[in-house]
Subunit: 379 residues, 2 copies
């Protein structure tokens, strides 16, 4: 039943959002081409996305959704093993635009189709219109013949992380922002997250990364490494505007409990050296009234937290910076069975996000009551 | 290997085009919306296509490819069991635009991507441009992760029929038309058909149906009912311009042999009463310089031969005409295990074709040296 729209909720039906480290069927991406997001007509970003897709495809199937006018170019630039499909979109952030997938214990997979308003709609959203983005989840689920839940509120996949064991982590800055769901209270949102992701407990961090254009998506700030352990982007420089944001997140995490009632182990990952957009980079962008302006000298919201967990690998942003190596080494400790793959990620960052933002995992349906939810069980 | 492009040929690799009655994995269609092909903004044709899709979906999976701007409308009009995918196209003739699928004895399925020039290119083709049509086979095969042969010549699926046992039937009017492959001789085309469809013998009929806009596609004139038996559209009215066309085809068929060296049984199916486009119908069409003009009073190329064989059914055009019943009864004799489903088809005919023209079967890969090629083995 490809087009089946379900009028219940994942929780009611026994479906939950798995952790990113649980086994994937594959990874979805969308092809970058907006000239007001990606400099030089998108060509440098396309090369960076090709490298991300090529590396992920070493570990799991990758499907790239592409606007009709870029189909031939994307097909030619991507390696043969990456599946390229026509999939109209307004920009390339699969994490936020694609559905969130949920699974049950019988191995069934379904999708949650969130409302999408381009990170804020007409109230400082990133661009207008976003009509094609809004259809992407329906189209992806049709392609896969998976049933679809239509969630009645705005959410982007990058604004949440789960441990697969009942805990969700997010930020107040984003989920309570008046440009997302102004008609919903914190309590309403908590109830909806519980219904649509089947989580038991929410950890609310105050704010995301400094100058993050998404209104503070958690996936650039903090993520689970395994149940009970989170990674947090960090700096020791008190003069850096990121310092107070990371420090207040740390305060929250130090007193937080997860769904099991356990305290969290917190792993600090030092942020990259502050980066700004150069004049040459800014001059490569179209200036469009209906889209977010990215000026010369703007601080880029660089973070190593914005990595992607593939079946046998970790795709980690690298910035040619002295902190790159520490990030690699820290993640290698927590994912000993996965290969740490560093990707030169500045071109993705220039568009306003990073590797996690441009990927969305589709979990494998695994029929097992004992599906391994631990850090490295399913590589 | 989704994007695998094969540089050999189906014949070299042991793949052949199966007969339409061999078992299908499903059926591809494309959604009608051109305002210069389909009257009244395409709405009556859309309703007719919905009925075709709905009926075929009773027998086998149906996927409808839709332009981005019609995705929501098509999804809403089609029943849930029909899979709806974004698939940009210039018009809705899946038979001619989609790939031709080939199979081998191990159950593998591949696609042949023909060159396409909208039934004649700039030399009296049906419209300009046809750039999106030309990409449809690549996109369909990517979706299905099937390897693709890129054939080096223009061909439309509706211009050929095969018996699955080595025989192909076509028309000189179409395949030798100077607006298709003027650089290729009859011998060149015969060799290419043998390579790309793995057939042994070609029966050349002179011309297609009177006023057929495709330059005489065989699928509106004559088709196989089983190896050794063909159906031919027929009229007893010598004053009808179709008479001499059917009569000359009959003459050819009477002396023809199939790939086994056997003569053919010929089943005449009386054509529908001559129909013409009404003023109201013609007024519903946009007039566009770059597209074929369909004037009031134009004879419509109606034919019962333009039916589709689904796994357990025959989808047969009906015109509200006194010959409808005989067509149903004749096909029922030859397909006793399949349900004969009549479809009111005038709206499809107004666009220039019929049910066979708007469908393309994707064969099931069946691992068997003894895959049944007889008339009703695989329902």
């Amino acid at each position: 039943m490809p087009a089946q729209i379900l009028h219940s909720t994942p929780r009611a039906d026994g479906f939950r959002m798995p952790a990113e480290w649980e086994r994937h069927a594959g990874c979805w991406m969308l092809w970058p081409q907006r000239r007001d997001t990606w400099r030089d007509g998108g060509k440098p970003a396309q090369r960076a996305f090709v490298e991300v897709a090529r590396q992920i495809a070493r570990f799991e199937p990758v499907t790239m959704g592409v606007n009709p006018d870029q189909f031939e170019n994307a097909r030619a630039m991507l390696p043969p093993r990456v599946r390229v499909l026509e999939l109209s979109n307004n920009d390339a952030w699969a994490r936020d635009i694609a559905p969130t997938f949920v699974v049950n214990r019988e191995g069934a997979v379904r999708g949650v189709h969130w409302r999408f308003n381009a990170w804020g709609g007409l109230e400082k959203g990133m661009y207008f219109p976003w009509d094609m983005d809004a259809l992407v989840p329906a189209k992806m689920l049709e392609i896969e013949s998976l049933p679809r839940y239509r969630a009645p509120f705005v959410l982007e996949g990058g604004s949440i992380h789960v441990d697969g064991a009942g805990t969700l982590i997010t930020t107040e800055q984003c989920l309570l922002h008046p440009n997302r769901n102004p008609h919903l209270s914190r309590g309403d949102i908590e109830r909806l997250l519980a219904e649509y992701l089947n989580i038991e407990h929410i950890i609310w961090l105050p704010r995301g990364v400094y100058e993050d254009e998404t209104d503070g998506h958690v996936d650039n700030l903090c993520c689970f490494l395994r149940p009970g352990t989170v990674a947090l982007t960090w700096t020791e420089d008190r003069a850096d505007p990121q310092y107070e944001r990371s420090a207040e997140a740390l305060d929250t995490l130090l007193t937080a409990r997860d769904a099991r009632g356990m305290p969290l182990e917190i792993v600090k990952i030092h942020q990259p050296e502050p980066m700004t957009m150069t004049e040459a980079e800014a001059m490569g962008l179209d200036v469009v009234d209906s889209a977010f302006l990215r000026p010369v000298g703007e601080r880029l919201a660089g973070s190593y937290i914005n990595f992607y967990i593939a079946n046998g690998g970790i795709l980690l942003p690298q910035f040619g910076c002295r902190h790159d190596r520490a990030a690699r080494e820290t993640l290698a400790q927590f994912f000993p069975e996965r290969e740490i793959v560093g990707i030169a990620a500045r071109e993705i960052l220039l568009g306003g996000g990073n590797i996690h933002c441009i990927t969305q995992q589709q979990p494998a349906g695994i029929k097992s009551a004992a599906a391994d939810r631990s850090g490295d069980g399913n590589v």
